[in-house]
Amino acid sequence: MFSPLTRKKLRRFKSIRRGYYAFIIFCVLIAASLAAELLINSRALVVRYQGHYYFPTYGEMIPGTRFGLDYPYETNYRKLSLLFQKENTGNRVWMPPIPFNPYENDLREHAYPPFPPSFADRHFLGTDSSGRDIVARLVYGFRIAIFFSLTLLVVNYTIGVSLGCIMGYWGGVFDLVFQRLIEIWSNVPFLYVIIIISSIVAPNFFILILIMACFGWTGLTWTMRTATYKEREREYALAAKALGASDIRIIFKHIIPNVVSVIVTYAPFSIAGGIVALTSLDYLGFGLAPPTPSWGELLQQGWDNMDAWWISGSVIAAMVFTLIIVTFIGEAVREAFDPKLYTTYE
């Protein structure tokens, strides 16, 4: 399935322990965040009621009336669990380890959020200033940030790589014109543009990706263009041309697979960049609309509530951890794909 060269690179990647383990942890984190509904949720995993089993996690909401409660809106499973325990009639609720969803406000009489971390309340990292569980906000926020970052990466790379290669392959006037266009385009102050656009349309996930992709693809074109200039003069490219292959075929079938190592080394850092960009936009209030769970918004709350150290503490720790992991992966990838075998990064 892989060429011997690629297999060799993968072996080298695996042999760089720090990066490899970071990669495994990263994958586990993503997988866990995909299953976040099973770990962190106000909906129960399983409810046994009058001999029937219910699995409320995914699917439609189950009104309280279904379990003999007196309200038609969504069942409060935490209360239901207590109730079943008290009744002791064989009914039972199995809750996830953290029984809160990232949107609900766990408010109390005569006390006001943010509440400090408490094992008794199952708020392991406390709550934010609206009484929402910080672990839940962090995990769901991570899921959004990481997929945002990945989607952005795909979009940016598709545009950047294609255009860069075409510029390098065709060269001439096309290259010259696009170089100038990109120079101008990349001088547009991207943050201001986002701020202006966000003030006009409420940004959602895809609008933000679109805006950021508009400005994110340019950086890649330079490297791709140079790499392609080099590759197109190689014999295999000339041979393909001599056989009558179209330009598009030569670029996408022959050249890109050969310059892909350049792209791959950039990728982990782009992911880190994407996370940081989304977090900073949310921090400034120009990111995803509330109440979307977001690290930037938590950071903002941490700044406003300096005494509530657990807010800023959690989000900064989470951020540092994620970025370090991504950087470790990036380093290892760069080293594994380095054509100069004996270079070491320390």
Binding site: M61, P63, Y71, P72, Y73, N105, G131
Partner: protein
Amino acid sequence: MTDFYKAVRNSTFYESITNNRGIDMQTKWRLISFTVIMIMAMAAASMAETPHLPADIHWLTNDSDPVYASSDAIKGGALNTAVLSFPLTFRTVGPDSNGSFRDFILNNNLSLIDIHPNTGNIIPELATHWAFDKDGKTMYFKLNPNATWAYGKLVTADDYVFTLEFMRSKYIVAPWYNDFYTHEIDRVIVYDPYTIAVVGKKAEPDLYLKLAISPTPRHYYGALSSDFVSRYNWKIVPNTGPYQISDFQMGKYIHFKRKKDWWGKDLRYFKNRFNVDRVSFTVVRDFNMLWEYFKKGKQDVFGLVMPQYWRDKCRIPIFENGYVEKAWFFNDKPRSATGMWLNMDRDIFKDSGVRYAFAHAMNIQKVIDEVLRGDYYRLEQAYVGYGRYTDNTIKARGFDLAKVEHYMKASGWRRGADGIWEKNGGRFSVEVLYSLAEYTPRLVVLKEEAKKAGIELRLQLSDPAAAFKQILEKNFDVAWMGWSTSLRPQYWEFFHSVNAHKPQTNNITNTDDPKMDSLIDAYRNSLSEADRIRLSHEIQQRIQEIGMFVPTFMIPYTREAYWRWWRLPTPLGTRQTNDIFDPFNSVTGGLFWYDQKRHDETLKAMKEDHPFPPVTIVDKTYQTEPPVK
């Protein structure tokens, strides 16, 4: 400035002082005075005859309403306070002049008359006497002959004539004022240098709110020219009030100094007020920084309306040792119509049952109790605090799931699989447009509670300017906002059908109701107070029946922290007081004073670590709302 006086202030406009004069100012003044006399002479000559006062004129004055300043007040000291940003200009008209700093300048520009903050009666200011004409659009004023501009020039009738010329001038680049002083105020008639009449364009109720204009110093401005806007950006224009800007540094500070021999200092309603010698506004750009400055004693007062400040952040030694005192003062004034405005041009809100259900699905009380710490109050309707014009029997719709169920079912909706109401393929999911991130904690609670009632709120935070534009263009489902207030309830702009279904009007709910229209027309055309009050109640009932507005919160008080050498009268303020440490407001401001002895005593005690008993004053003299739970 207080909202109460907005109506007055809108009609009372002027310019203030300078001390950046050239050396040859004396000569220039003489020239200007000469020109003024020439113009007056020409104006007089152009009239067929000098006007005569009507014979049956009935002069009124007010020297019997209670005074509200403390006779214990002593003069002296300096108040150090802050502004969050440096003003863009010192002009009070023209481009960029509409900032919050303008109030400090305007409050030192008195008008002919004002309104007593506790009784609501007219009180003298620059005029000593006033009279109403039978035509319902003219008022006569006898000017106070002692009134002077800063630097000693007397305020005379011609300065009021100049106000009209000034405000109508195209050089001031202020279309609103151009329009107001052209289409609302007809003319100023001069009978002698100290007797004038101000004539409105049409007869209307509460005429005095409009006709109490302010003078503008002709001797200072002379003839206006096209360079007005740039020329007067940083000029300090002579004013008639107790304070004048003495010096300033761009971007850093502005100092106001009390005039040594202010003409008004012994007048009944000004006595024992405006006590501090100097008021400094330092620019502090960050609210958290301001709090730090206050704790260090570099600021004298700090607003504590926000619950977390009043309750948590004050648990620090300077409060517990009594060096800083706290005051909670309830006022009684028109409350901003703050809440959720439903756009009735949206299909979903065309059904009154759905609007009622929406109101019953908003758990405002929970937000008050659990987010706002019980410190805010439920606003019962859009027009609270307008005295007899308010119908106090109207109560807001409370959170009630059974009623939501009832109204929704009656309108043919049923709960969908996700618990949200559905009808004909549509869900009860609406967007709530709001403009400040500070409101998010309140809205997320409402959102979670509304879900129980089967209504999905989608929160949309937009920046204030963009949100307001979207609202005025009627491009929203639910708008979370409040309107500013005026002395009397205003209905036409918000609820009359002529303003519905078109952009850039304040009828943001698109209220289009024939009964409402006829009530509003009658209200606007009536000159009888009793009729207007009755109609006002009927309109408020009708608003409740239509149910396009879900009232949320009001804050019927002000709270402040101040170092203990600042003293306040009893009661701490007036019915209309917005800020008990307002240094300038011509009717409610300047009631506090500085106590040198206590200052020395406090500094000594702080050095020796000797505490005083902590002080928290709660003044409910003017409280009208039910007490805090």
